[in-house]
């Protein structure tokens, strides 16, 4: 059960960080007219195509005692970053980045540009326009981003194995735990954990998609119903 709680804690932290960091990043990627934007877009999408072991390998190097992140962490907090919960969070944030940022970009881009112009001529600066116009019209995208980063983090294996190792209560997440049980031929234990994970994942996703669909439908109804219909 420790492993399960750890996985949930990890997924919550990662989703929260990705939401806070993903909003400005997605805003910039959706609206910036900088020419080199494609480079950053490629970087954000990298985890989609890289094997988790590759990402985990470089994350491990960076976080190791001689890596730049490891050294920085050591000087700030007096202990290393590799094989800690914090290190795991950091690697997972990178790994799940596209799953948070891409739904946000898509929903920001689908907001009618005329609404942004209207907001500007009414005197609203960028921040107010984002907060009062773009974000409320992007709720389905925000919900999708949270769900996907949560679910993706719960299910990750390769990155955790590379960066976290296998320390009970610190970095042994549920996916690693299941793998361990299978390795030691404890199929009953593995099955119990796997079923719990399956159940939790399925219920979370069902609830969120149901909510999201309802919200999405409300918003799209407000946006697209012919005016005379009422």
């Amino acid at each position: 059960m420790d492993a399960l709680l750890l996985s949930l804690r990890l997924a919550l932290c990662v989703s929260a960080i990705l939401l806070a960091g993903g909003l400005p990043l997605a805003y910039w990627l959706a609206y910036s007219s900088w020419r080199g934007k494609f480079l950053l877009e490629a970087v954000v999408a990298l985890p989609l195509v890289l094997p988790p072991t590759v990402l985990g390998f470089y994350a491990l190097l960076a976080m190791g005692p001689r890596g730049p992140l490891g050294k920085l962490w050591q000087s700030l907090f007096g202990h290393g970053l590799a094989f800690t919960f914090e290190g795991l969070v950091l690697a997972s944030v990178l790994y799940s980045l596209p799953f948070a940022v891409q739904p946000l970009i898509a929903s920001f881009e689908s907001v009618d540009r005329k609404l942004l112009d209207a907001s500007a001529v009414l005197g609203a600066g960028r921040f107010k326009t984002f907060w009062r116009v773009i974000l409320p019209l992007s709720i389905p995208g925000v919900v999708t981003a949270i769900v996907l980063s949560f679910a993706h983090t719960i299910g990750e294996f390769g990155v955790v194995l590379m960066v976290g190792g296998n320390l009970a209560g610190v970095t042994r997440t549920v996916s690693i735990d299941i793998y361990d049980h299978v390795q030691s031929l404890e199929y009953g234990e593995a099955n119990r954990m796997a079923l719990v994970l399956l159940g939790i994942s399925f219920s979370v996703l069902s609830v969120v998609y149901a909510v999201n669909r309802q919200v999405g439908r409300q918003i799209s109804r407000r946006l697209w119903t012919p005016w005379a219909a009422k």
């Binding site: 009618d112 005329k114 609404l115 112009d117 209207a118 907001s119 500007a120 001529v121 009414l122 005197g123 609203a124 600066g125 107010k128 009062r132 116009v133 409320p136 019209l137 918003i219 109804r221 407000r222 946006l223 119903t225 005016w227 005379a228 009422k230």
Partner: protein, 375 residues
Amino acid sequence: MDTLGSEVNAAMLTALLKMKRLRPGSPPFVLDVSIQVPTGITILFGPSGSGKSTVLDCIAGLVRPDSGRIAAGENMLFDSESGVNFSPQARCVAYVFQTLALFPHMTAEENVAFGLDALPREERSARVEEILKAFRVDKLRGRKPAEISGGERQRIALARSLVTQPRVLLLDEPLTGLDAHLKAAIVDDLRAWNAAQRIPILYVTHSREEVNALGERMIAMDHGRVLSEGTPMEVLDAPRHKRLAQAAGFENLLSGTVMDLREADGVMRVRLSESACELEVPLGYAAPGDRVRVAIRAGDILLATSEPHDLSARNVIEGRIVAMETRGALIQARVDCGVEFIVHLTPGAARTLELSIGGRVWLVLKTHSCHFVEE
């Protein structure tokens, strides 16, 4: 209303805009206009694609012209020479888009209050209240745009723009799709509001009908240039440009060749292409041999079933009716005189004259119903 605000408001909008935009697959779009908009409604008229909306976007600060100057009274909004370029937020220019762009997730009241965040709560709600009443939508305050009818949404968009007490109001075909009554009622409310505010209102349309309803002053433009300005009557009833004539509803647009100029009479004779028809039209900038166009409204042509004599009208042309069809409250006849003319008449007149297809008729045109149009 604060007195300072209305003093600043009482000033003219001037815009000098030059801009060139490359468009893949077609010739570059060139905008080169200089316009002056006094307080009151000025119509910016022209066919679609003529650059009207771009002019509005430049004035609002959403598009930056390559060079030029935009000023609202004494407030310089943009000046390429001195590098002044205020952001759309800082210009105090209100803009009602063709799509209205009401915020779909906000109620009517929230939409209208959106531009007033800087005001203390009490003043804000007082102003919202006042403008919702002025545009007769105070009963809809709690509804979202999708729950409101077309005309009322237009009223709310106007209220949202005007509640900020702008220096200038830009309207991009905001009343498209409304019936004439509804349009007239909204325009009346807009006029009533502006009687107190006295700001320049630039109203873009390509609808002839709206021009007639609004008309104080108009500017006609096409291909990024101003063609003519003046009262709607001056501009539309004597169109000097082909596309403007089409847009202004001249059903007959005939090409021909100038035969001779009779300066003493103030007229010239034009032979219509591929026919023996000759028309006497008012003198224009043309020389004998020039190819020109003549624009004539279908409703300005008289029909006779026997050859008329002793008329003041100088143009009498014989022809044959080739088609007649009913169009709403009038009948449109096509008359072949070597070239085809379109003539409008009332059903009563058609009955009295016993017009039928194939029948011989004479067209009677006053010289001043024939308008000389540049290519």
